[in-house]
């Protein structure tokens, strides 16, 4: 078994790391304090090719696997998990989904500007009345001539307030329930589309989250992604890839918390010795390392699993459930190791903790992911 990244993935990691420590670090705090979205840094990431690592070459991407995308997200998350989340929603939830399910024309028109960062992407599944029960969504799409007319609203949409291109799920046949869902590409310029609210969050601040409103939005029929009424398949396979790839964000948070804690434990002295010499601190560090290591292995395993089979739920869901809960625990331990400083905004660990909590909720909550895993393991009962 080979745990080494390929030479290209290693170079990519170094390049993203340098970029994140230079360009992103300069705005990370401002993002958090002011819910500021750094559009310039986002475009730079696009022109460096970091947004299109896994997208097809013919659509302006680099044609690498999901591991490359995860490497990008991990290095970004070490500096700003919020920026990594925005990139994850853009590159994976929106662009990769379109690249997998779109027609050649749709890919040409929409994936290329997403790969370059010229346009910003988002995915709209969640609604005010359908969160965990995602397939009960109420947004409606009615076919009228060459158009579908969309009506409804979407809640908690990452990049919603800044997105140019949105992949939106709606019911084309509400009577058929989850078998009546279809996916559409919506452009922000379409009449009737609007951002009704920009949301104020606990963490992941600076990754803009919004509530979107669709009022008689006319979407050209050629913007239907996949087959009519077969959107549930797109949702479910998309969720597996999303859970595997987004696992890289908690992995980055955990690594950063561990590395910051090690530095602090070496430097901070109490009772005449570095606090790292106290066994109660050492225990925390050793446990943090164990969680960092298991998180990384689960991430790599899940990426491999969804690359082979996008319908297999258990590995991606297990990975994101474990790594997200681990990152919250590790971030809390980092705050404890930093003592009073950990509780202060002058140090990044409290921000990392607030950011970490999101991955236990977004992309399906930990509870739902566990249900998904157990149901697949059990198979049909009776």
């Amino acid at each position: 078994m080979d745990f080494e990244l390929s030479p290209v993935e290693k170079d990519l990691r170094e390049a993203v790391k340098g970029f994140a420590r230079r360009e992103l670090a300069a705005v990370a705090e401002k993002m958090d304090r002011e819910e500021y979205f750094p559009s310039e840094v986002f475009r730079q990431a696009g022109s460096l090719g970091f947004l299109g690592a896994s997208l097809p070459e013919e659509n302006g991407g680099s044609g690498l696997g999901y591991l490359a995308q995860a490497v990008v997200l991990e290095e970004l998350a070490r500096v700003s998990p919020a920026f990594a989340l925005t990139v994850g929603a853009h590159s994976n939830l929106c662009a990769d989904n379109l690249a997998r399910n779109g027609t050649p024309e749709q890919r040409k028109r929409y994936v290329a500007p997403l790969a370059s960062g010229e346009k910003i992407g988002a995915l709209g599944l969640t609604e005010p009345e359908s969160g965990s029960d995602a397939l009960s969504l109420r947004t409606k799409a009615e076919k009228r001539g060459n158009h579908y007319v969309l009506n409804g609203s979407k809640l908690f949409i990452t990049n919603g307030p800044v997105a140019d291109i949105l992949l939106v799920y709606a019911k084309t046949d509400p009577a058929r329930g989850s078998r009546g869902i279809s996916a559409f590409i919506v452009e922000k310029e379409y009449a009737g589309f609007s951002v009704s609210r920009k949301l104020d969050k606990m963490g992941m601040r600076g990754s803009p989250t919004g509530e979107l409103s669709l009022e008689n939005v006319e979407v050209p029929a050629e913007n239907l992604v996949g087959k009519e009424n077969e959107g549930a398949k797109v949702v479910m396979s998309g969720l597996n890839v999303e859970r595997a790839v987004l696992s890289a964000i908690p992995v980055g948070i955990t690594e950063e918390c561990l590395s910051l804690s090690l530095d602090y434990a070496r430097q901070r002295r109490q009772f005449g010795a570095p606090i790292g010499s106290f066994q109660l601190i050492q225990e925390k560090l050793a446990n943090m390392y164990a969680q960092a290591l298991s998180s990384r292995l689960l991430l790599y395993h899940a990426l491999d699993s969804v690359t082979r089979d996008k319908r297999r739920n258990r590995d991606a869901s297990t990975a994101l459930t474990y790594v997200s809960e681990a990152s919250t625990r590790v971030a809390l331990d980092a705050i404890q190791i930093f003592g009073g400083n950990g509780y202060m905004r002058d140090y990044p660990v409290e921000r990392l903790m607030r950011d970490a909590k999101l991955l236990e909720i977004g992309a399906g909550t930990s509870e739902i992911r566990r249900l998904v895993v157990a149901r697949e393991l059990l198979g049909s009962l009776e």
Partner: protein, 267 residues
């Protein structure tokens, strides 16, 4: 115009360094090597900036080092260099700055070059001696600690800048030449992912060091290191800071003075 950039792979500044059992070198076992020396990155950026600005023919990269130094060259190719040559040394082979300069000179003889650029110094041994020695072995003038350069092709002159403590010097001299670059006009670029991929396919020639033996042997100093390290120690660990407690600025100054006189003995 052809530019040749000489790069060196160095240990990652974050890696933990140990002295080898010989007591004369760094223990490279388990040491993570960075892709490139930071000062070399600044120098490569300056070469690429000139290529883009003045329409140079090519930027080629050259390194002397073990097989792993290929990664430093690939990183240079990813930044935008066109071709690379690695003079590959066998494991354990000892080099010093002058021997390295002779090997670079021998290899450079077969690579077109109007300008040969080196970084101000390597982050590991910080000798900063290769550039001027290389000029000597190539029979070219060498200019050190240059911050920005502009070639004037018609007169075969270089206009160069050099920062001085509190000032700046602009000077000129003929080329072909060897230059050590303190820092370029621009910050080093981040390689784009497409360029990282292309770099894996760009030509990289490996020359076993033995192949240069004949050429190097005729140079003054010959095919062996000129100097030898007799001992190597890491800097002593820094002792912890001492915090003084005080109520008033006067008290702080009195206590500080006492410590500086009696404990640190610097006054």
């Amino acid at each position: 115009m052809d530019v040749l950039v000489c790069v060196k792979q160095v240990p990652d500044p974050e890696t933990k360094l140990r002295v080898a059992p010989s007591g004369k070198a760094l223990d490279t076992d388990g040491v993570k090597f960075t892709i490139n020396n930071t000062y070399d990155e600044a120098m490569v950026e300056e070469a690429l900036r000139m290529k883009e600005e003045f329409g140079f023919t090519s930027v080629r990269a050259l390194s002397v080092g073990p097989a792993r130094a290929e990664e430093a060259l690939r990183a240079t190719l990813a930044m935008g260099a066109d071709e690379a040559v690695l003079v590959e040394t066998p494991p354990g082979m000892e080099l010093d700055p002058l021997f390295t300069a002779r090997l670079l000179a021998a290899a450079a003889a077969d690579i077109p070059h109007d300008l040969v650029l080196v970084g101000r110094h390597a982050q590991d041994d910080e000798a900063g001696a290769v550039g001027s020695a290389l000029g000597e072995y190539l029979g070219l003038p060498s200019y050190s600690f240059v911050t920005e350069l502009t070639p004037v092709a018609a007169s075969h002159q270089l206009k160069m800048r050099r920062y001085l403590e509190g000032g700046e010097e602009v000077f000129s001299g003929p080329f072909p030449a060897v230059l050590s670059i303190l820092k370029g006009a621009k910050d080093p670029r981040t390689p784009t992912l497409p360029n990282i991929l292309k770099a894996r396919k760009k030509p990289l020639k490996k020359i076993p060091v033995k192949d240069l033996e004949a050429k190097v042997s005729v140079l003054k100093g010959g095919f062996q290191p000129t100097s030898a390290v007799t001992s190597f120690t890491l800097p002593p660990p820094r002792s912890g800071a001492k915090m003084l407690e005080f109520q008033t600025p006067e008290e702080a100054a009195t206590k500080l003075l006492k410590v500086l006189k009696e404990e640190a003995k610097v006054l």
